[in-house]
């Protein structure tokens, strides 16, 4: 329990200020998401690691809270929460900011850095396979355990390093992805090819992610409902490392398989959960990912209107 208490670093300052437990703070955040009013237009896929070609609708802002719990063979288990702000600039360009943190049980909790990601859709129509180009700049430290992607020879052993040592490594990295995605008879099938480089010294590292998902019911029912099958999406995703430019290989790399279940509540909240299983010796044995997302429709327009009223 103490692990969970401290597992929500974003909640710690709030919890201390209001003299409530971090669990209460976490509960309040989730409850706030659930009762929030505006309807959302989300049509997103439920993946944690893979991306599809569906971008954020223009002008919409999505607030997402993630956490990644991981078990460790030699070392302490950890939980790595992060906050994500996703905004649809145009119908072909989505930008996102991430703020990462982690707590390693029996060690410490810390903020591990931030990332800025952009996704561009080069083709203006739907095709059998739809490409999206992805570019991300990461300013994180070596203690980051969000595992938003697995590349090169990333392994469970990297995460066994104590936080006070791992945090000394500063990673300024550029990450690119080629996202290929298709929709067919209610299914979404996405494949991502990842290339990442530490701008300081390292060679290019490669990885992949792939996912397939489908709503439990394809047609909508006549009445608004929260618990009907049309609001649930089930899927599975795979991800792993592929070595580096110097040594392109599967040997010694980590790979994961993870079923996913997402619940899209019509008021704009999405809850997702995904237990992940390590497939190789280098992988973590078990991961548990969790996500709460809330989409604010027309956010950009509202901000614009506020500025207009101020400067009128």
């Amino acid at each position: 329990m103490s692990g969970f208490r401290a597992s929500v670093p974003f909640c710690q300052p709030i919890a201390t200020f209001f003299r409530i437990s971090a669990i209460s703070c976490f509960g309040v955040i989730i409850a706030g998401f659930l009762v929030a009013a505006p309807r959302a237009a989300a049509q997103e896929t439920p993946y944690f690691v893979a991306y599809s070609h569906h971008l954020e609708e223009p002008g919409n802002l999505e607030l997402e809270f993630y956490s990644n719990y991981g078990t460790q063979h030699r070392g302490n288990d950890f939980i790595a929460p992060w906050l994500e702000l996703e905004y649809g600039i145009t119908a072909w360009w989505t930008t996102e900011f991430y703020f990462d943190s982690q707590e390693t049980f029996n060690d410490s909790a810390l903020y591990t850095g931030n990332r800025w990601e952009n996704r561009f859709r080069p083709l203006m129509k739907e095709h059998w396979i739809n490409p999206v180009l992805y570019v991300e700049f990461e300013n994180i430290n070596g203690a980051d355990k969000t595992m938003k992607e697995v590349v090169g020879f990333d392994s469970a052993a990297n995460h066994a390093v104590p936080n006070n040592v791992a945090r000394l490594e500063h990673d300024h990295e550029i990450e690119t992805k080629l996202i290929l995605s298709s929709d067919y008879k209610g299914w979404n099938i996405s494949e991502n090819f990842i290339a990442e480089k530490n701008l300081g010294h390292s060679p290019w590292e490669f990885g992949y992610a792939a996912g397939a998902s489908r709503p439990l019911r394809l047609a909508a029912t006549t009445r608004p409902c929260n618990f009907c099958a049309e609001n649930f999406i089930a899927g599975i995703e795979f991800d792993g490392g592929l070595g580096t430019t110097k040594h392109l290989t599967l040997a010694g790399t980590s790979h994961y398989a993870a079923p996913i279940l997402a619940w899209q509540v019509p008021n704009g909240v999405t809850l997702s959960v995904s237990p992940g299983f390590g497939l190789t010796e280098a992988s973590h044995g078990f991961l548990l990912r969790f996500r709460v997302a809330y989409e604010i429709s027309g956010f950009g327009r509202r901000i614009n209107n506020q500025f207009r009223s101020i400067f009128r």
Binding site: A41, L55, L218, A219
Partner: protein
């Protein structure tokens, strides 16, 4: 004198209305059938597709629900359009075939800000089309 002023004002109003209409048409260009060009770009195969839910009351209700969730933010709660998106009651929309509307929903009009809705299942897109066709 008064008659001249009134005539001049009427003429001015007429010119302004004409200019506004022309601007609206420039903003929402039409094809020879009077259908919005963004919709009329649909290929012949898509244009000819029939809505499997056509006229079904359940599908229309479901389509209305989906419209409120996914379309009303831009097209307005009554589908009368906003500064960002077309009025869906317009004849230039209603003249489109169900197949053309379904094609536009799937592909969007990305260059002009309408996102593609390929991420929602085809059945739900047809339900939205069934609802849109009741707006004329």
């Amino acid at each position: 004198m008064n008659r001249a002023v009134v005539s001049a004002l009427l003429l001015l109003a007429l010119v302004a209305a004409g200019a506004a209409t022309a601007r609206e048409h420039n903003r929402w260009p039409l094809d020879s059938r009077g259908v919005l060009l963004a919709i009329a770009k649909a290929p012949a195969k898509a244009r000819a597709e029939k809505n499997p839910y056509e006229g079904q009351s359940d599908a229309i209700l479901a389509g209305e629900k989906l419209y409120r969730q996914k379309c009303a933010e831009c097209h307005g709660a009554g589908a009368r359009g906003t500064s960002r998106a077309a009025n869906l009651h317009w004849r230039s929309v209603q003249n489109a075939t169900p197949g053309e509307l379904a094609w536009l929903l799937r592909n969007g009009n990305i260059a002009r800000g309408m996102p593609p809705w390929a991420g929602i299942p085809e059945q739900r897109r047809w339900q939205i089309v069934a609802y849109l066709k009741t707006l004329h």
